[in-house]
Symmetry: C4
Subunit: 285 residues, 4 copies
Amino acid sequence: MNAKPKRQHSYNQGTTLSAWREALNQIVFGSETAAGRRFDIAVIVAILLSIFVVMLDSVADFQQRYAAALLWAEWLFTGLFTLEYALRLICVRRPWLYARSFFGIVDLLSILPAYLGLLLPGAEYMLTLRILRLLRIFRVLKLSEYLEEADILVVALVNSVRKITVFLYAVLTLVVVFGSLMYVVEGPAAGFTSIPKAVYWAIVTITTVGYGDIAPKTPIGQMIASTIMIMGYGIIAVPTGIYSAELLNTRKNQYLDNRACPNCGAASHDFDAAHCKFCGHRLDE
Amino acid sequence: MNAKPKRQHSYNQGTTLSAWREALNQIVFGSETAAGRRFDIAVIVAILLSIFVVMLDSVADFQQRYAAALLWAEWLFTGLFTLEYALRLICVRRPWLYARSFFGIVDLLSILPAYLGLLLPGAEYMLTLRILRLLRIFRVLKLSEYLEEADILVVALVNSVRKITVFLYAVLTLVVVFGSLMYVVEGPAAGFTSIPKAVYWAIVTITTVGYGDIAPKTPIGQMIASTIMIMGYGIIAVPTGIYSAELLNTRKNQYLDNRACPNCGAASHDFDAAHCKFCGHRLDE
Amino acid sequence: MNAKPKRQHSYNQGTTLSAWREALNQIVFGSETAAGRRFDIAVIVAILLSIFVVMLDSVADFQQRYAAALLWAEWLFTGLFTLEYALRLICVRRPWLYARSFFGIVDLLSILPAYLGLLLPGAEYMLTLRILRLLRIFRVLKLSEYLEEADILVVALVNSVRKITVFLYAVLTLVVVFGSLMYVVEGPAAGFTSIPKAVYWAIVTITTVGYGDIAPKTPIGQMIASTIMIMGYGIIAVPTGIYSAELLNTRKNQYLDNRACPNCGAASHDFDAAHCKFCGHRLDE
Amino acid sequence: MNAKPKRQHSYNQGTTLSAWREALNQIVFGSETAAGRRFDIAVIVAILLSIFVVMLDSVADFQQRYAAALLWAEWLFTGLFTLEYALRLICVRRPWLYARSFFGIVDLLSILPAYLGLLLPGAEYMLTLRILRLLRIFRVLKLSEYLEEADILVVALVNSVRKITVFLYAVLTLVVVFGSLMYVVEGPAAGFTSIPKAVYWAIVTITTVGYGDIAPKTPIGQMIASTIMIMGYGIIAVPTGIYSAELLNTRKNQYLDNRACPNCGAASHDFDAAHCKFCGHRLDE
């Protein structure tokens, strides 16, 4: 319904652009024209290829055999994306607003590591951040319903952020206290060489990951570990419960806010309501 | 109610068959006649035995001691299933529709690996795909309610496929970004020999599997790992929440009616309600 | 409400007993009299002690040092429990019904392993089955509400048994197919020495346990493993969703079936119903 | 609404204090005045710093290099917190009630380990218990909504405590029985050196932690382990289901009203409804 206009980014509204910048804008930002769609698809293919190149470059075998080709390809993609970023800044209506928007920052992050890698060797591997740019794929493929579904998931997350903060504080307290306890009980012999490491073990255990690189050896340590495991097993129910309840609630609110009362204008009626719950007027008149 | 007709496969409708093919169809596809039931049970027993034989064949001890007998048994079962597949093609009303149907493909997949194994040694172990044929067991044992329950589960899955796609994209982004980060921070010394391997580690960690074959060794690596673990622990709530909410909705839609009371307008009556539960008026007047 | 009578076991109803057997029954089966309560508490303490003794006996250190004392204690407890079992058989109204009831079998299982251990060394460790007898603790401590809560949990489980069967069949299919695939791809070098072992690995992985004793080593194996991990991570949502929905439903049914219509006698009205949904009569008249 | 007064602790009500103790109380217990807020923030910073010092002290590298400074810092913080505890006892209205309250015990626990460490070396590491004092952060930052959300989580936990007790008893029974079974089947060769250790393994497995330090080696052991894994995978649904259902119930009771329409008798109106949503009649007439 009104989802489309909301999706139109504010940095592309307001000012009028000169003819060529407007045409460029249609191609670079829009996906309604054939040229715009082709551009978007080219960008997505380039993103996928460039991530593939970065990954290959990190595999020692390939790196040694095709060092030159990989380097060349990486800088080619970086060059292209830098050019694209420049074009976006040139043809957007409000460049500074775009640069600070989510997509603006993602676009910058997808070229920065390459230049940073000249100073800090290794930083260029963070070019995989380009995967974030793939979010555009949903828009190009006209998958706006997917973005709406994502909205529901995000709204439910935002609504439960307080409960999850409280939950995370509780988890943090548990891992610090149990970590210290295990450091005292087990000591360096079993791999608990310091409290931070013991806290790391407690996180590995309470989240049920359980690498096994550090594991209790003494009977008392194993008893304490059993306690924290069963706790972790139990409290995984907490975020799930929070989120399920919130999601059900969000979904319910979805069904609510369609009709407005013809008398008083109030909205958010239940879907089985025949009368406005505020003024008593019939809703469907 | 109308579930039975829906279950009747379209490839067995339409054309009339000659007498003997009709009789064969009753036995091979039907499970109403005594002969049809006996045939189905024989097939199920043969499937279980053949999977057992394939599994035994993969155990080195048995393989060496009973090589000839196992080979003989495997080809016996493959021969029988090939014969059965041929019979099905002969006596079905629309052979081509059957061949492309779910069960047609499964029936083919349960003999193909044997012949493929002659060219590609090892492929014959995929004969365990025969386990998919066991789906027929539900029909033979008159467990159509189970299939209806399965329908509910599948409908809820299909309804939540968009949300789960969005969720999987988010997980993929997380493991690629965190994997790259760990490759930069930890490096080959701790087993993070390439970005793909680091991404594999991130998947092992975020799903809380935690083999421990690769594990962070530096304090910074362990801090990043802790973050991804707690994230994984938290976002496991997301698919559970999605699916629970969807399942509740599917169930609710099943049980709740959309009729409104003609007197007071109240809705959300049970399916078996004849009168409005609020004002007592007949619902179907 | 009517929960108490339901809890009264059928094997203790019907026939009349002679005076002394009736008195014994009061003590052994009942927990209303002071003697009955003392007997129950003595039994519970004996169970806990005997499990403790069995556990100690399995620890090599203790076994070597206190071999005689432990042997003596084990047979003392076994003798006491055998005597108790005999007493129960003597004073119960329908001995054969008791012997086949849940508690009758548990009581037998808690002495059998000791005698079995004379023939099969090691069997005596299964005396820890005595822990099942602790179920009586809920009755003794007048925790009948706990048993009612347990009933709700069990009813929800029973109601979702079909969905869970379908789910388990799906999981079984997945682990067999993926296990075979990994056996073909990885082979004995990485620990996948046979299909059954590869299936075991698939179960360890899909349930997110992840011991790490067997783990994929080749890139293709790690890709397949990633798929099964993300699947396992996702489908853990299925039983949780099934069970949550069922539990909510059970709870809802709890609120329903209290009032009966004064006109037609129909029950299972919603708790917000003012009129019978079947005949339209007011419910509270 | 009435949440604020509830939060006012009972140990700070009743008796009147002399002028200087009242002023001290405002600073130490209150967070309304500027001085009170500054005091609270100073305490929170001191807690974070002192936990950081304790953690650093446990890292061998730092311990050896800065032994004197760390010891000095630890005793400085302990001295400050001891002084603070004394001040709280002096200026509170009912010292004994405070000492036995949750925060009173936490405040004591955050200094005790330091003195205990003089007798029992190692105990001083439990000073990390100071993290519990951070709970005050929610009050200082005026995050009372967070505490209310926490209340909802806690209420749902308390309401489901019976179900969870029953569930934990079931889990305990499973791990003891399966642990004993594995001890008999696998024996010391695979690391199952005693029943308690086998029970520890069963807990590690059923909670899906899976360290891998102990893992079954025989085919029969791996079959039993598979059973317990799938059980663990399935029954993780139980606490999640319990908690989700309880949380939904808590929330529902919060939002839904028990008023019935005086005209048509319909119930389940929203809290903010003035008119019946079915017939439009005023609800409060």
